[in-house]
Amino acid sequence: MEIVVCVKWRPDTSEADLTIGSGGKDIKKDGLDYDINEWDRFAIEEAVQIKEKMGGKVTVVSVAPEDAEEMLRETLARGADEAFQLWDDAFEGSDGYAVARILANFIKARPYDLILTGTLADDDCGGQVGGMLAALLGIPSSTLVSKIEVRDGKIRFNRELEGGLYEAVDMDLPAVVSVATGLNEPRFVSIRAVRKVASAEIPTVGLEDIGLDEAQVGPSGSRILIENVSMPPEGEGAEIIRGAVEEVAARLAEVLKEKGGIR
């Protein structure tokens, strides 16, 4: 079983205070912590669990700059067998389509049975790359996947619909499967596992290595343009209760009582 996992290196914006950058087309990113996209952590774990059950190899790829090497090294500590960093300065500013094209060109030259990704990345909230990658490779795909079973050249799983409803689906391999968060519990990484991969080689693969030219990547290979970004007004709608903690708690209790929130 040849499993390829695509992961994204992105700024963690979930709890961070964000400001708009000087060009007005992106947020300021220098002060933000970067890490693996939350959804992709589950994809790595799922790949390693499938390998542990069925044998085979897990290869991790990421379209990400130099700094992302630590993320790729951590995936090796989590049980992946090899990792590749796809980067070239020309890749900067690629949209979902351009990223999918870079991944497809790298992956198509290698053996693969199953390609795993997260369903969504929380930086651009696009949810596009998995399905685009599958279409570029000419193979089927699905998103929001959990409860995976691989058997006889097929993959069976549940995918999430709305309102707690799921659908059971069966798909031929090779395929791209974009996982839902929570489908497994990503393992803790031991210090021993981290030491073991400390000197593992993580090759960088550039533009020419994957047979693309500059017009096909970055902003020129993208189909979506960002005109500008802006912060929605703070606390629009909500009456913010301020003051010392004691006072705030007392006022909040009154509001709850008044609105029927205490029985």
């Binding site: 979930s14 929380d122 909230c125 995918r159 999430e160 970004v229 929605p232 606390g235 205490i262």
Partner: protein, 326 residues
């Protein structure tokens, strides 16, 4: 050349889904701005009644009747939509940003050689150029986007962002198309629906809900939140990250992929307010949010907010409630 504007009708278990009407509202607005008419594409099995219903809201309904379309199979949908739209350029195809369409839109856009914008909350047409508003960075930043080549555009629409009012105009035409699907077997197959697991508490029917999210920390003191819910006489619910971490079972999860709730009071603790979560609480008259991030989107839908550390405020609040109750 006139722009062709299409809306994909979405149905499940024999019923049109609400997002279809929202997409029609967005499509009608765009059609007016481009000075053209709106057509709806319905892929289904024995869907005469649905086609009839749709024809009352759109100038034209294109119908493909094939048993394979009884359920939403993204592979079959891709083949059919590609065949239908290939010769109808320039086009804008609008679809709901539903979990089904999440499987369809990216691959379809590649097959159609179209640009794709997902989860759009509004559209504008400036000098004949289409722009869309969407959100990025944990849904905390608004982004205005445009399309490099506007000849072929696919866009998915944020659920609940476009409000629908029936047009009540003259009935549109219904055009039946032969199924473009050949006999080639599909590589992806729907097997069956799996219903939600039922739990020991009824979050959907609760009047008072205390709901916790990622902001309660990596190793949260769940007892603290249970005590608050008990003091209020409500139930404890949560957003997705709490279920992902196995801190509460799935039937406590509020949101579009969990339970939709309509309590009198919804107290959101450490919930940032991603749209998937907000989709589950839009029926709550009073939302009160406590979050340490003043920019959290939850404050935009809440009536009352507190920007504070959960672990300072919650024990005090529980005490104050106990005092009130005597």
């Amino acid at each position: 050349m006139t722009k062709n504007i299409y809306v994909l009708a979405e149905h499940r278990k024999g019923h049109l889904r609400d997002i279809t009407w929202e997409a029609i509202a967005a499509g009608r607005d765009l059609a007016a701005k481009f000075g053209t008419e709106l057509a709806c594409i319905l892929l289904g099995s024995e869907v005469d009644a649905m086609a009839e219903k749709l024809s009352r809201e759109c100038s034209k309904v294109l119908v493909v009747d094939d048993p394979i379309f009884e359920t939403f199979n993204s592979e079959a949908y891709t083949k059919a939509l590609a065949a239908i739209l290939q010769g109808r350029c320039p086009f804008i195809l609008l679809m709901g940003n539903s979990n089904s369409v999440l499987d369809l839109a990216p691959g379809l856009s590649v097959v159609l050689d179209a640009a794709l914008a997902t989860d759009c909350a509004a559209f504008q047409v400036l000098d004949g150029r289409l722009t869309a508003l969407r959100q990025m960075y944990s849904y905390k930043v608004n982004a205005l986007i445009s399309f490099k080549d506007a000849e072929r555009v696919c866009a998915t629409l944020r659920v609940g962002a476009f409000s629908y009012s029936p047009a009540g105009g003259p009935t549109g035409t219904i055009e039946r198309l032969d199924s473009p699907l050949g006999h080639e077997p599909l590589r992806k197959r729907f097997l069956n629906y799996v219903e939600a697991e039922k739990g020991d508490i009824d979050v959907a029917g609760a009047d008072i809900i205390v709901s916790v999210g990622r902001g309660i920390g990596d190793e949260p003191d769940m007892e603290l939140f249970e005590m608050l819910a008990d003091a209020m006489g409500g139930v404890l619910a949560c957003s997705r990250p709490i279920v992902d971490k196995s801190l509460l079972p799935k039937y406590h999860q509020v949101g579009t992929s969990g339970v939709e709730v309509k309590p009198k009071v919804y107290l959101a603790l450490g919930i940032s307010g991603a749209f998937q979560h907000l989709g589950g609480i839009k029926g709550s008259p009073v939302i009160i949010a406590i979050n340490k991030d003043a920019r959290a989107p939850i404050f935009r839908v809440a009536q009352f907010g507190v920007v504070a550390d959960m672990y300072q405020i919650v024990p005090l609040l529980t005490e104050k409630i106990a005092e009130i109750k005597g």
